[in-house]
């Protein structure tokens, strides 16, 4: 469900976008946890009234549609939709709802006095609260507040009536103590042990479960907010630029006096002051969720193919949201994009998302005498242009796949928290010059903070020695992973013939080469079109979907792209997520708190999805983002269908494979990265690190294609925790393992 703000709603009422244009640009939001402090149901109604009025009068109320049932009353609807609680329905809420639904309600609008206007919860849009004159029928649709009131059961200390004993406690209807894994009566007995023996004699506090409701509310920070500096400390730099100068004018339903007040005050501050007693301390700055992206429906298929959390509408968690610096080496971009973050260029300048009114249109250069192509449509940040096919569009598309923002506009990249660098690469030079320039970029131009670089191009040298480029890339081996596209010529390369650079340099520890795959979920093959197709090589590392990839294009447009150029950035984004979560989780154990690019490269390889149909085309399988970024836990899939993730408490230090390969019979558990069942061969295959200490990740990652597991009944125990709970030990036998993925590091 896409929520809309009241400000957007007022625009509808006023049939004028001018009144709210800047407000719609407000990307960051401050989120609060709101909880009532009511002692009874009457107070609860009043506190909800205060919440809604504070949000409404400050322009922060979020609304949604709801269909009237029977009886067709607004209060009934709000209770039915669980956005109203408490004993009564205050007049001010009726007035607010009336103003929210002018097609169904009229009321007398009497301007509030100056005293009432000083209290954000004492008026409705600058008018005195008054009952609305409603005209409603069942089945009609009304605007109602859009807040999810979550009911939780907490333990409260309250004065005990004289003579009270735990056995006398009877839970109110609806009180749910399942979170305590006990009945509410048992909870009372557990938490009041002393009263089991001696009834309360007065002035005794007892512990009882109480039902609490609460909700999350979001406020838009604005340029007048006194909290702004506080907010900036926790915001990304590229977000702070989009804090809105909120605008309220005559187009809104507020009274002129109240509009003037809001022009001179910070609406966010007014709201915070009004509900301060009911909210938690300022929490985090929350971008729009991934579910708010208008083009998400065009991306869901891709997210499912690579098992990205966005496929389940899950936002990235804190560990995955660290600002990893990513460089895109591609054709030159000259402008920012409304759906890309601030792009840092190698010369130190920035390409910021342009303001809508200043966006320049990009007109193709008419160089043929045949016809002059039409210019693209004007900027709306919602235009899909299937003719966005220039080299600059290629660069913008690569950037978008990686880092398009979650901002309620357009699409979302696979790591919207990545910091983006663009390194211009001139593909209009002859091949050897391109190679010379790339070597130079690698040697001197890569910013120190960059952890992943995406190279969605290939060059076939005519005279240059590939060793020079290999050397330049190897020098970066300790700090930067280079993700290369395999190329779109449909060539089948092998160890003897592999002329494309940098794709064919992936024997380096920090070069990862990506082949393009089709969109078959269950049996993917190499991507092909009528005139192109992914290059392949049994030694190339990993695959990712390469067709129908929605991404950003120049001129604030979007387009669908195809080819390995757009498979590679998916892997780049995934790599940046592994860097983010890996360094967040294991930072205290890493020398310099940095993951080695090799660790990340290997992680992406051994966590991919393997398919028999890709044998011979690529070393691993299709990118699996979700598996790669779950760095903390061992991930098991059992033959009985169970999926178990957690910490391995017990497993055999060594297990046995029946295999004709000498020396491969005995496998070390701590070297095992992946054990996966090959349905076709009816055997497992495995990835393991060898050549370093037991459990080390710096040795060679080897793939063993055939392991008939002979270690059958050895016990495996996994500690599974949910929501940071105490945990549960799940036991099974080694023979039950269909698929195992190790954590990024052993604890």
């Amino acid at each position: 469900m896409i929520r809309r703000s009241l400000l957007a709603w007022t625009a509808l009422l006023a049939a004028s976008t001018a009144s709210v244009a800047t407000a719609e640009m407000a990307v960051p939001q401050i989120t609060f946890q709101w909880q009532p402090d009511a002692a009874n149901a009457i107070e609860l109604s009043n506190e909800i009234e205060a919440l809604y009025l504070a949000l409404y009068n400050s322009g922060n109320l979020t609304v949604r549609d709801a269909e009237l049932g029977q009886p067709p009353f607004v209060e009934s609807l709000m209770r039915q939709e669980q956005v109203m609680h408490g004993a009564h329905f205050p007049v001010a809420l009726d007035a607010m709802m009336c103003d929210l639904n002018p097609d169904h309600c009229r009321r007398t609008l009497r301007p509030a006095g100056s005293g009432e206007l000083r209290d954000l919860t004492a008026h409705v849009g600058g008018y005195v609260p008054s009952r609305g004159r409603w005209s409603l029928r069942g089945g009609e649709t009304l605007n109602i507040p859009d807040y999810d009131f979550m009911t939780t059961t907490t333990l409260e200390r309250i004065p005990a009536p004289k003579g009270w004993t735990p056995d006398a406690f009877v839970a109110d209807q609806g009180l749910d103590c399942s979170a305590f894994k006990a009945s509410c009566e048992d909870v009372v007995r557990r938490f009041n042990p002393q009263l089991l023996k001696a009834p309360a004699s007065g002035n005794v506090a007892i512990t009882v479960p109480q039902q609490q409701i609460g909700t999350t509310v979001a406020l838009r920070p604005d340029t007048r907010s006194s909290y702004l500096n506080q907010l900036k400390e926790v915001m990304n730099p590229d977000q702070s630029g989009s804090i809105a100068q909120l605008s309220f004018d005559e187009g809104s339903t507020f009274s002129p006096t109240w509009n003037q007040t809001l022009e001179s005050r910070s609406p966010a501050d007014l709201a915070i002051e009004a509900i301060r007693q009911n909210v938690q301390t300022i929490g985090t700055i929350q971008n729009f969720g991934v579910g708010d992206e208008p083009f998400l429906h065009s991306q869901i298929g891709l997210f499912k193919l690579v098992n990205h959390p966005f496929a389940r509408l899950e936002d990235l968690d804190e560990t995955q949201s660290q600002p990893v610096h990513v460089a895109v080496i591609d054709s030159r971009l000259s402008d920012g994009h409304c759906d890309l973050p601030v792009i840092r260029l190698s010369d130190g300048t920035d390409l910021a998302p342009p303001a809508p009114e200043t966006d320049a249109e990009t007109t193709p250069t008419p160089v043929s005498d045949t016809t002059t192509p039409a210019p693209p449509p004007a900027d709306t940040c919602a235009t899909i242009d299937h003719l966005a096919m220039s080299d600059a569009d290629h660069a913008a598309g690569v950037a978008g796949v990686i880092a398009s923002r979650a901002n309620g506009k357009g699409m979302v990249g696979m790591n919207p928290h990545a910091r983006l660098w663009m390194m211009a690469f001139d593909r209009n030079r002859v091949a050897d010059q391109q190679i010379d320039n790339l070597i130079l970029q690698m040697q001197i131009a890569i910013p120190e903070d960059v952890r992943v670089a995406n190279l969605s191009f290939g060059v076939q040298p005519r005279l240059s020695n590939p060793g020079r480029m290999a050397n330049a890339m190897a020098v970066l081996g300790s700090r930067m992973l280079i993700v290369a596209a395999a190329g779109n010529e449909g060539e089948k390369f092998d160890a003897q013939h592999c002329p494309v650079l940098p794709a064919c340099l992936n024997d380096l520890d920090n070069v990862l080469t990506v082949v393009g795959l089709d969109s078959d979920m269950d049996d993917p093959g190499l991507w092909t079109s009528q005139s192109a197709g992914s290059n392949s090589n049994p030694a190339f590392d990993i695959g990712a979907p390469a067709e129908n990839i929605l991404s950003t294009a120049t001129g604030n447009r979007f387009t669908h792209q195809a080819g390995t150029s757009f498979a590679a950035p998916q892997v780049t984004a995934a790599a940046s997520l592994v860097f983010s979560t890996g360094e967040y989780v294991y930072g205290d154990e890493l020398a310099g708190a940095q993951l080695s690019p090799k660790i990340v490269k290997d992680r992406l390889i051994y966590t991919s999805d393997f398919f028999a149909g890709l044998s011979g085309a690529v070393r691993a399988g299709r990118l699996n983002v979700g598996r790669a970024i779950n760095v903390r836990e061992a991930q098991f899939e059992l033959f009985d269908g169970r999926t178990i993730t957690g910490q391995v408490l017990e497993a055999p230090d060594e297990f046995v494979c029946r295999t004709p390969i000498a020396g491969q019979q005995f496998q070390k558990w701590y070297n095992l990265r992946r054990l996966s069942w090959n349905e076709t061969k009816q055997r497992h295959f495995l990835f393991r690190h060898v050549g370093s200490d037991l459990g080390g990740r710096y040795g060679v990652l080897e793939r063993d294609a055939s392991c008939l597991v002979r270690t059958l009944s050895a016990p495996v125990e996994v500690l599974v925790r949910q929501n940071n709970g105490p945990g549960e030990v799940v036991s099974f036998q080694f023979r039950d393992i269909r698929d195992y993925t190790s954590p990024l590091f052993d604890q």
Partner: protein, 379 residues
């Protein structure tokens, strides 16, 4: 000593009018520059599944190729007048080919540099389901050149190289790279503007309706002073019936589909130099290469010797290569002295390159460049 009368002589029409039987055969430098491969890219109703107005898109990449061209053909009812095939490629090439001009005999697209192009069928109005567009041939540059250096090493130099004097560099703007297809081969030549929309080249380059129809003249195809490759507009040969052809002088003058003269300038046929007077320069596109200049060790030898006609030619020592045919030869004052057209190979060495005297061409085209006296067509 082995003398090599190269096979292209057979394509060149009348032989040289010289009676020196010991003379080696000329190499007519309409350069065979690459391959033409069959493709089977069918864009019928079943393939036109994309959203309007782009029902089909794809890309082609031939790594290592300096450029490619696509042969388009339509079967069935014509495409709507607003349907185009859009080609986007390197060097900002952005070409839209109206598909109502493409018939069952097909046509060759413009040249797409660096062997890569993104392709989109753009059709704002519905296409008849029976109409099918084919990309049935792909021309790809693939051949390396052999420089024709009469003595010494090859001294061809990029036109904007710092070593090239500015006044010589300025002479090169009207010179174009010509790509065309003849006899199933992809060929290249050079040419130069002698009027706003009139281009001169060799007769052994453009000599038929087929070569005219397949020709694209690429202006501004050169490295800039910083070594970046650029490419300007591509113009096509308008109509071979309107072309002026002189077999004896090995010269063709064709009309282009646009008038690049105001931007790129033109060679003045009224101001000629004499090949006998001293050093010369040849500005040319050897093989598939961007514009180059030969100005070192570049001088005339014999003058008024027989070429295809008596006393039409002069020899010169300027470095050229296959594809240089049709290049202008200037004196160091920038006056046209000849039209390069032949090279002679003697064993592994080149013993002379040949140009046609500019005054012979001027006589043919006199009294001015807009009047072209007809010549008896070759038999």
């Amino acid at each position: 000593m082995t003398r090599l009368p190269l096979l292209l002589l057979a394509l060149a029409g009348p032989a040289i009018a010289q009676d020196d039987s010991a003379r080696p055969g000329p190499v007519l430098e309409a350069y065979v520059d690459g391959l033409i491969e069959a493709r089977d890219i069918r864009i019928g109703a079943a393939e036109r599944t994309g959203p309007s107005p782009v029902p089909w898109s794809d890309e082609i990449s031939v790594p290592g190729s300096d450029y490619i061209r696509l042969h388009l053909r339509v079967e069935g009812p014509p495409f709507p007048p607003d349907a185009t095939l859009r080609l986007l490629g390197a060097l900002d090439q952005d070409v839209a080919i109206p598909l109502d001009r493409v018939g069952p005999d097909g046509m060759w697209s413009d040249l797409m540099p660096f062997g890569r192009a993104r392709i989109a069928l753009v059709a704002p109005t519905p296409i008849d389901p029976q109409s099918t567009l084919f990309i049935d041939q792909l021309m790809m540059q693939s051949t390396k050149i052999t420089p024709y250096s009469v003595h010494g090493i090859n001294q061809l130099t990029p036109i904007n190289d710092a070593a090239v004097p500015a006044d010589l560099r300025a002479l090169g703007a009207p010179v174009a790279f010509l790509s065309f297809i003849e006899g199933g081969f992809a060929r290249t030549c050079s040419g130069f503007l002698i009027g706003p929309d009139r281009l001169m080249t060799n007769e052994h380059c453009i000599n038929s309706a087929a070569t005219c129809a397949s020709m694209t003249a690429v202006f501004g195809y050169e490295f800039d002073t910083e070594g970046r490759l650029g490419m300007g507009p591509q113009l096509r040969c308008r109509d071979f019936e309107a072309a002026q052809v002189n077999v004896t002088l090995d010269a063709s003058v064709v009309t282009l589909t646009g008038a690049p003269g105001p931007e790129y300038g033109q060679v003045d046929l009224a101001m000629l130099g004499d090949a006998a007077d001293g050093p010369m320069v040849v500005i040319q596109h050897p093989g598939p290469q961007p514009k180059q200049i030969s100005f070192l060790d570049c001088d005339a030898g014999e003058t008024r010797i027989a070429g295809r006609g008596p006393e039409t030619d002069f020899t010169h020592t300027c470095d050229t290569a296959g594809g240089s045919s049709g290049a202008p030869i200037f004196d160091v004052s920038g006056r046209l002295v000849g039209l390069h057209h032949f090279g002679f190979q003697d064993g592994e060495a080149w013993d002379s390159n040949r140009g046609v005297h500019a005054d012979r061409i001027q006589d043919w085209l006199s009294p001015d460049t807009t009047a072209y006296p007809a010549e008896t067509p070759p038999e």
